[in-house]
Subunit: 388 residues, 2 copies
């Protein structure tokens, strides 16, 4: 378990300022934003713009007074934000709004597309968890290769304290969450439906575990169904909460391509994992690479992109060496010219290597020091170590 911070306990978020009037306004804003998350679909730019300019409370009052768009009006009848909030509280969850200390600032980069609020379950504190975070996303119909790489990357991120953010889907998403949990690291699942549901159903156990150990997040209130549109808009949250979006496997129509596009629109780095060109599951990744995505092959390379600049520096790899590795061009030519058995004189070496006498002499000295060349009688030959 890396030392990630736990959110302040349950309830619907603790208001920060002490003053009572401010408390009340904060609670009112929370309720109004919860209401807006039900009145308007994710990515309803007019709703977001209205809330942004007038504030959630005033904007809601306007709709209640019969103003605003008819699509919002049409959803007023069933609206009961207090009930939604108490459902969330009953689940041990909390609603985050921009004025909360736990609000993940990264998501404000979405501008007018930023969510009204976030419905959250789980102990992971979002503000801190999203300062070092990588979205690891990809195809539901992943290959064993893709799932393995997703797990390797997520494991490496988790052990470095980098939050693994994904969408809890089958395939790549699931592999990433699971590996992060297994490593005891922070992970966030962003859902397209309400946080009271586990979608997809086959991931109920996984999502419950993320609720218990990480965070499950949605911008739509409890009871909301996961529509195609909400999946598309959910992807902007995955991108916006992360410092880098890594696509592990993606066919040409994969939702992960949408997440990558949203990250790119936010000027956040997009990375793609290469795979066999013979695999349709890597088609999207290769298209991203052709369009300028960063090629990543290891958690270390993801970490370079997922944290603050310079926080994670690449380790140097220990590489296998041949005896002649690291020889300069001149030394290599003299080494090439040295016979394995019968020693030869300087004159022959000059001719064979095609180098000047002084150059050959200097190279022989260096090769001798490296244990690759030996004097033998009046001439020179390779040593046993130099016999490649």
């Amino acid at each position: 378990m890396t030392g990630w911070t736990t959110a302040t306990s349950g309830g619907c978020g603790a208001p920060e300022p002490d003053d009572h009037l401010v408390d009340d306004e904060h609670a009112e804003d929370r309720k109004a934003r919860a209401a807006w998350s039900r009145l308007a679909e994710p990515g309803d730019d007019a709703a977001h713009a209205l809330v942004m300019t007038e504030g959630a409370i005033a904007a809601l009052a306007r709709v209640r007074a019969g103003g605003g768009e008819r699509r919002w009006q049409s959803r007023l009848p069933g609206l009961d934000a207090e009930n939604d909030l108490s459902v969330l509280e009953g689940l041990g969850g909390r609603l985050l709004i921009p004025s909360d200390p736990e609000w993940p600032e990264a998501i404000d980069a979405l501008g007018v597309e930023a969510p009204f609020c976030l419905w959250v379950r789980g102990p992971l504190a979002l503000a801190e968890a999203t300062t070092r975070a990588a979205a690891i996303v990809g195809a539901r119909a992943a290959t064993p290769y893709g799932e393995r790489v997703a797990a390797d990357l997520a494991d490496g991120c988790a052990t470095r304290g980098i939050t693994v953010i994904s969408g809890a889907a089958y395939g790549i998403d699931g592999a990433a969450h699971r590996a992060a949990l297994a490593a005891g690291g922070p992970t966030i699942a962003v859902l397209a439906c309400g946080v009271e549901q586990a979608y997809p159903g086959g991931h109920t156990e996984l999502i419950n575990r993320i609720v218990a150990e990480g965070a499950v997040v949605s911008e739509v209130p409890p009871g909301s169904a996961p529509t195609r549109w909400r999946f598309i808009e959910r992807n902007r949250l995955i991108a916006g909460l992360s410092r880098v979006t890594v696509v592990v496997e993606a066919a040409h129509r994969s939702g992960a391509m949408g997440t990558a596009a949203r990250a790119d629109k936010l000027s956040l780095p997009v990375a793609a994992v290469p795979g066999p060109v013979t695999s349709a599951s890597s088609y999207g990744c290769h298209r991203l690479l052709r369009n300028g995505a960063v090629c990543v092959t290891s958690a270390e390379e993801v970490a370079e992109l997922a944290g603050r600049i310079g926080e994670y520096l690449p380790e140097t790899l220990p590489l296998p060496m041949a005896v002649h590795d690291g020889l300069g061009p001149v030394d290599l030519r003299v080494f090439d010219a040295l016979p394995l058995r019968r020693p030869v004189g300087l004159r022959v070496l000059i001719s064979t290597a095609g180098l000047e006498p002084d150059t050959v002499r200097a190279a022989l000295g260096r090769l001798e020091l490296r244990g690759l060349a030996a004097r033998d009688g009046g001439g020179w030959r390779r040593t046993r170590a130099g016999k490649t």
Copy 2:
């Protein structure tokens, strides 16, 4: 067999100008350049610069008179360019020098590093063959995946009339040459030894076939051994003769990485084929991709880089479609909101989709036209085609 041009028959190259004096000088230049290719190692910048500034004949005369570097002097005793040329002629080969019409102009981009001459065997005319040419190179210790991809790329290049240039080595090189030959396309093997030898020995049959149907090229005269240094310098010829260098598989120390570096130095495009990140044989390719190489996954993508700009335009791929593919965001939201069985009225659709009445009406019209939505009683539902 694509219609590539055959070189003018055998001998040591036909001088172009008719005038006898010029003929004599041309023959003299040819002999002097053949001599220089024996006196100086490939990439001996001082030798290349001397020949470039004084001309091969005058530069040779200077060395014969005791001038120039001692390394060249040291090789004068065994020098017999006329014999080298007659050996070549005996093999049915020809020597190309820059003033020959068949000289591949592309290689002049090497500047002072351009070869003195090219020792050539095989019917393929180099000047024309190198106007559309891709180097397909990679590891000797290739995987079946790498060899398959190399063959696919080479086949696709060959059938497009793009010359496949490689180094005749085991692994990727061999797979590329073989596929080009199988497709009846042009291929050039650039050797690090004299063209009278087949190196590696296990590729004797392959190299003989390239001699019979393509071109085998070297900058060193007959009898020259393939030293490590010559392999390194040979790689600059592979890069320089090609319009793009494609690395299919390469471990971190692969010679193909050197070829890519030489291509990059010449400001020629470098492309790399992605592979599984779990494969050490793709390590070099992924390093190249991280450093800005173009990601290529098909011969079509290589062809875009291998010919004159705009000569090969990418074909559009037929992609599998879902019924909701291509729907705009508004139509998708209305489609999502449509029930599969019991029809619903406009008011419900407005609320469910979160869209304005006019917007919903227009979207329903478009969905109806596409056969995805149907009127049913007073309401709307999805059609059978829309049941995904």
